[in-house]
């Protein structure tokens, strides 16, 4: 099989071939590195490609497997790491000039778990500066380009990972999601983006972030692969107080199960109020498809969403505290979008911060009640398909909305509520626009019920109009 065809497969397809020694991890890693080198000038998805270290890992994996020590589905699989995840002995820049030479001493917990599972790290992936935005137009390392339309953003902040998975450079990439930063590259790049329950995966080693709602999750080319990667990442980390000591089920066991008897909640307010017409049509079609698959649709109301914008107030305050020391010492090294979006946090009053956290609680309680009425929710992932890289504004419902920098919030309006609630959410491709840009929908389940979320997403994926579609910038194209 030509190397390029190997890269077009999913983890679920590739893993048995590695286990059975039909495919060599060394050969596969060489192919992935060649693809990374070839596509880097086009999509700019990496900050650093780890040629030597990846080959060392691949040779080790091959030797292990030849000795009969197969570790599981990620063994020998090339993956990418967002460059805000600490990697021991490897620069971790966070897409910033401030930390351009920063070399952590320890791996992030998720990196350690993937390393222990035998995954091979192809490179550190490009992102929005300090992961603080939804475009991945990085002022220091260049804009990441969307493989489906090179003049369009891949979404952010984990844009390099989304672009790599879509283009076939990596089989999976680990991103981080504080307001949609895994799911937005998922929807804009036509791949699966997962933000599991808050507390399901350790945040330790995720750098320069807010404690309140950040998650590390995978982007993959299938729902089944998402389940396989979460299986490796999930589990309590005694050194991370935000992780929760609950059992981790076998996620793959939920795949292929019927949706009959499940209640599907579709919000009657907020999520469908500010939406591009093509996105709405695609998501409504997906809802109809889920009904045909056996789910019973129930309209649900979320009136407290009227106040969701107030959560940005606590995020502003968290942001200034997170960046304060860097801003004092290296302010000139910040790009203007992150700088002038972060500094206003210094004006947030303690009273307003407290109000913001109380609104968050009210919204959490409302979702908890709704999730007693239904088994899962369906929403759009983003209100629009990927904007152009040079777009400063999006016009929606007659109003102009900033795409990035101070005052921007439109792109993440459907994803950020699930960071605030901590509910698990997965973005699944559900079609493309007339201009060929991917559209995604979100499946949301109860806390720690990722299995059911995978069940729904997997069932839908098999009938999605996105099945078989590939971007223009794809390995072998």
């Amino acid at each position: 099989m030509p190397n390029v065809e190997l890269l077009q497969m999913t983890i679920s397809e590739m893993a048995p071939k590695i286990q059975n020694k039909e495919v060599s991890p060394v050969e596969l890693t060489e192919a992935a590195l060649a693809a990374a080198d070839k596509l880097q000038p086009t999509i700019n998805s990496f900050i650093k490609i780890l040629h030597d270290k990846a080959m060392d890992q691949a040779r080790e994996a091959e030797a292990d497997i030849s000795r009969g020590n197969y570790r599981g589905p990620l063994h020998g699989i090339p993956i990418g790491l967002k460059d805000n995840l600490a990697t021991a002995g490897i620069t971790t820049t966070l897409g910033s000039k401030v930390l351009a030479d920063h070399v952590p001493e320890e791996d992030a917990e998720v990196v350690k778990r993937c390393r222990d599972a035998g995954a091979i790290f192809i490179g550190k992936e490009n992102l929005e500066e300090f992961a603080a935005g939804a475009t991945s137009n990085n002022p220091h390392y260049g804009a990441v380009r969307n493989p489906w339309g090179l003049d369009h953003i891949p979404g952010g902040s984990s844009g390099g990972g989304g672009a790599n998975v879509a283009a076939g450079v990596t089989f999976a990439s680990l991103g981080t999601d504080l307001g949609g930063s895994v799911r937005l590259p998922g929807t804009f790049c036509g791949v699966v983006g997962l933000k599991q329950s808050f507390g399901r995966v350790s945040q330790r080693g995720l750098m320069v972030t807010s404690f309140n709602g950040d998650h590390i999750g995978p982007m993959t080319r299938s729902v089944a692969d998402s389940a396989l990667v979460l299986q490796v990442l999930a589990g309590n980390d005694p050194l991370d107080p935000s992780s929760v000591p609950v059992p981790v089920p076998d996620y793959s066991a939920y795949l292929g199960k019927s949706l009959h008897g499940l209640k599907m909640g579709v919000p009657s307010n907020y999520y469908f109020e500010m939406l591009d017409a093509e996105v709405e049509e695609a998501v409504r079609r997906s809802i109809a498809a889920l009904e045909e698959l056996g789910a019973e649709m129930v309209e649900v109301s979320l009136p407290a969403m009227e106040y969701i914008g107030a959560l940005r107030i606590s995020a502003m305050a968290d942001g200034i505290v997170t960046h304060e020391q860097f801003l004092k010492s290296n302010r000139e090294d910040y790009g203007p979008d992150v700088l002038y979006r972060t500094i206003p946090g210094q004006f947030v009053l303690g009273r307003d911060y407290s109000k913001s956290l109380k609104v968050q609680r009210i919204i959490q309680e409302e979702y908890a009640q709704v999730m007693q009425q239904v088994d899962f929710l369906i929403t759009p992932t983003a209100p629009v398909a990927a904007p152009r890289i040079d777009a400063k504004y999006i016009t929606m419902n007659g109003e102009e909305h900033r795409v990035r920098g101070p005052g921007s919030s439109l792109i993440s309006r459907c994803t950020s509520p699930f960071n605030a609630t901590g509910l698990p959410a997965i973005s699944v491709p559900c079609g493309v626009t007339k201009s060929g840009l991917p559209i995604g929908m979100q499946v949301i389940s109860r806390p720690f019920e990722e299995g059911l979320m995978f069940q729904v997403a997997d069932c839908y994926e098999k009938v999605s109009p996105s099945q078989g579609l590939r971007p223009a910038a794809f390995v072998g194209a």
């Binding site: 329950s197 808050f198 507390g199 309140n212 709602g213 935000s242 929760v244 000591p245 609950v246 009227e306 106040y307 914008g309 107030a310 940005r312 107030i313 502003m316 304060e324 801003l327 004092k328 302010r331 203007p336 002038y340 979006r341 500094i343 206003p344 210094q346 004006f347 947030v348 307003d352 407290s354 109000k355 956290l357 109380k358 609104v359 968050q360 609680r361 009210i362 959490q364 908890a368 900033r402 920098g405 101070p406 005052g407 919030s409 605030a420 609630t421 901590g422 509910l423 806390p447 720690f448």
Partner: protein, 60 residues
Amino acid sequence: MSISNETLKAMIRDYNGLELSDDELELVRPELDYYLDELKKLDALDLSDAFSSRLLRFPE
């Protein structure tokens, strides 16, 4: 609702904040406006009995 540049400069001075020139104050204005607009929406919301947030936890 708006906050004047004079007030912002006084806050920076008195609370040992990060300095901003007049031009920079205009650059942060969209984010500040967003903050104030969202705050205004809370005027009619009684938060006196609301708990503060804690992300959902599995029963332990």
